[in-house]
Structures are given as C-alpha cells and as structure tokens.
Amino acid sequence: MLELFIYLSEMADITELIIITTLIFLIAPAFLVLYIFIYNKRKKRHIEEKQLMQLTFESELIRTQMEIREQTMQTIGADLHDNIGQLLSLASQTLGSVNLDDRDKAQQKIDSVLDLTKQSIKELRLLGKLLEGEQLIALGLPEAIRQVINWIEKSEQCIVTYTIEGEHPAQNNPDKDLILFRILQEVFNNIIKHSKANEINIKLGYIQDGIRLQVIDNGTGFDIANMPENQKGMGLSNIQKRAEIVGGRFFIQSQPGEGTCIEIFIPYP
C-alpha cells in the first residue's frame, strides 16, 4: 500500500513537471513564430521605404537633368543676345558702312569685320561645348567643372582657382556626378547673383570612399543664423536636399563681409 502511495506521489510530481515543461516547449515556438511575423512586417516596411527612396532619387535625378538643361539654355540665350548678337550686329553695321571708293578705310573695316567674325566663331564654339552639358558629365566630373569654370572666367568678373586632390576612383558614378554638378551650378548661380565675389576657390577632393567639394568665395557673405526664412531661397535648401539624397552632407560657413565657404561630402562611387 505504501509503495503504491509513493508511486502515485512520484507520478503526481512527474505530471506537474511534464505540464510545466510542455507549456514552456509550446510557448517557445509560439514566440518564435510571433517574432518572425513582427520581423517580416518590419522587413516589408523597410523594402517599401527603400523603394520610395529609390523613386525619390530617380525623380530627383530627372529633375536635376532638366534643371541642367534649362540652365544651359538660359546661358546660351543670354550669350546669344548679349555677346554673339552684339558682335554680329557690329559686324553687319561695319560692313554696311564700307565705302568701296576709299580703299584704305574699306580694308580697315573689312579687317575689323573679320576679327568680329572670328570672335563670334570662338564664342559659338564655347557655346557648343556648353550645349554638350550632359556629355560633359560622361567625360567625368572634373572635366565638366572645368568647362563651367571656363565659362565663368570668360565674363572676366572673377578669377577662379580650381584644384583637384586625390586620385580619381577607377569606377565612375554618373548619377552622383550629375547631382554634384548640378549642386555646383547652383552654388555658382548664388555666387554670381548675390555675392559680388571676384575670387572663387574650388577644391575637388577624392578622399577614401567619397568626394569632397569645397567652394570658397570672397563675396559679401551673409548671416546664416539670422537669415529670414523667405530669404533662404530655394538654392541652399536644394543643395542640402540633393546632397542628402545621395547620402552626403552639406556644410556652409558665412559671415557678412567675409565671404562664404561651402563644403559637400558625398560617398563615392
């Protein structure tokens, strides 16, 4: 009888143990399945965010291309009107005033027209190069920047110093080149329109896994902290937004009367 009692109490102990451990062994996979569900949901959200970012990047890239084209067309329009147009009008007027009876003066005027025509051809060639804006980027960012600098220097309003540091990576990233090129165009626009600078210093540096672009001008500068919201303009916020889209950072330093320094870091390629 006693043995039966011991046996039954042992069985009761085992029963309790089995119930508890079975519950633990049931809860463990239940939690695992629940965790997989939660993780999977997060994965879905992450994929959706990635897709959205890709879409934003692509649309920004298209907008950048459009803006570069628009900027080029504006420059060409202004140049045709202000420069080549003036040269050709002058040539036409000079030719119109040629008196064939006065051979010496006529010769002088024809020579002057020849000079004007040659200058116009030179200007047209420069315009042609600018028109190849997108192909310029295909040649590489340093070359594209050089062409824009040539154009700025032509106006003889300011002296531009351009230095390239570090080695160009073996692989290009045309999308990032395009965005950086557009940022630089925006920076130049700001300098020309607002800063009244006569010296611009550009440094393009290829650092480890990235590009650093630094633009310093000796213009009027401005107080960033106390700048009214409506005067911040689309320029700076656009530069910042574009730098962030390619995973980069944008820094600006400026004080009234002390010029402006802009630095952009972008992971590359």
Binding site: T22, L26, P29, L32
Partner: protein, 225 residues
Amino acid sequence: MLQYFTLNTSVEIICFLIAVICLHSDEKVEWKFFIVFLFITCMTEMAGVHFKKLYLADRIHNHPNIWLYNILLLFQICFFCMIFEMLLSKYFNIKPVIFGMGMLLLATHNYELYEHGIFAYNELTNTIMLVFIVLGSLYYFYLLLKGENYVELKYAYDFWWVAGILFFYFGTTTCNIFFKSLSPEKMKSIKHLTYYIYNAFNIILYGCWSYSFICRKWLTSQSLS
C-alpha cells in the same frame, strides 16, 4: 466502426481529406506525397486504435500497438527528409546533409529493432529524428529571416507546414523524454497525460498543415489563372 474515430484520428482524417482536395492536382510530386503519407498515417492510427483495444482487453496475450508506430517511423523518416530537402534546397544544396541524416536515422532504426525487437518503441530513432526536425525547422526560419525578399507569411504554405511540425515535435519533447515512465504498460488508465498532450499537439500540427495545403492550393490556382 465509430470507435475508430477518436479525436486524434478525426483530425488526421480531416487533414487527409483537405490534402486530397487541395493537392491531388499539384504539379510538385513532393506535395502530392502528402496524400500518401497522410493516408498511411491515418491507417496506422486507426489500426493503432484497434490494437490498443485488443491489448487493453488482454494485456497478457497481446502487445501494445507500439510496433505499428515503429513501422510508421520508417515512413516518417523518408517523408520528412524529402520535404526538408525540398524546403531548404531553395536556399542551398542541402541534399548531402539530408541524405546523411536519413541514413543515420535508418541505421539507428535498424539497430534498435535488432536490439529490442519491434514490440518496443524505437525511442532513440524518434529522439534523433525530433532533434533533426527541430534543427531543420529552426534553420528554415533562420533562412527566411535572413532572406532579403518579403514573404507574405499569412499565405506562405512552406512556413505553416514548418510551423506545424515545429510546434508538434518541439512541444512533445517532454513526453518523449518521459516516454518510458508514461508508457501504457506502466499506467493504469489509458487516459494518461500524454494522451491529452498528443491530442492537443496533433490538433495544432494538422491544423497548420491543413491551412498550409489550402494556401498552396489557393496560391497555385491563382498563379495558373
């Protein structure tokens, strides 16, 4: 006849019928094999009920139905190896590993039969198979989590099949550990603890599998249309 329809066998038969409806025209042979496997399982379970009754009526002259489950174990080894090979081969070449595991299980099965005959349960084989199944299921989940693609888990038939088998084999670990202490030979009443535990886990297992078959049927018919 009704005596053969216990809660356990009823759940299995329902799952078998769902498998027949959903998988009879499946293009993958492995999934069609579910019908065969579930048929064998149902037959074994019903025969098991019959032999259990004989044993309870005369414990001296009859053996418990354990020998039937030893035979079923052979089918389970082959079938689970085939399914895990199908599930994991999507990610990498798992064939050699599955083949090795299958061989080890068959060798253990034969050794146990040689050791104690067919009337004692091949506990070691079952335990090793349980470990392999749990490892295989966890590894499948790991690969699922690691994968970059998003999977709609609500309708992922693979996932529900693995979830079912993991619940069952992981959940019944305790019963397997205490198998000897809780065997019918030692228990006065047949309605012992393991009966309820196995019933509960069987409902979870065949519930998950049935849902998995429905998902498979739904998804394959959708992709065809």
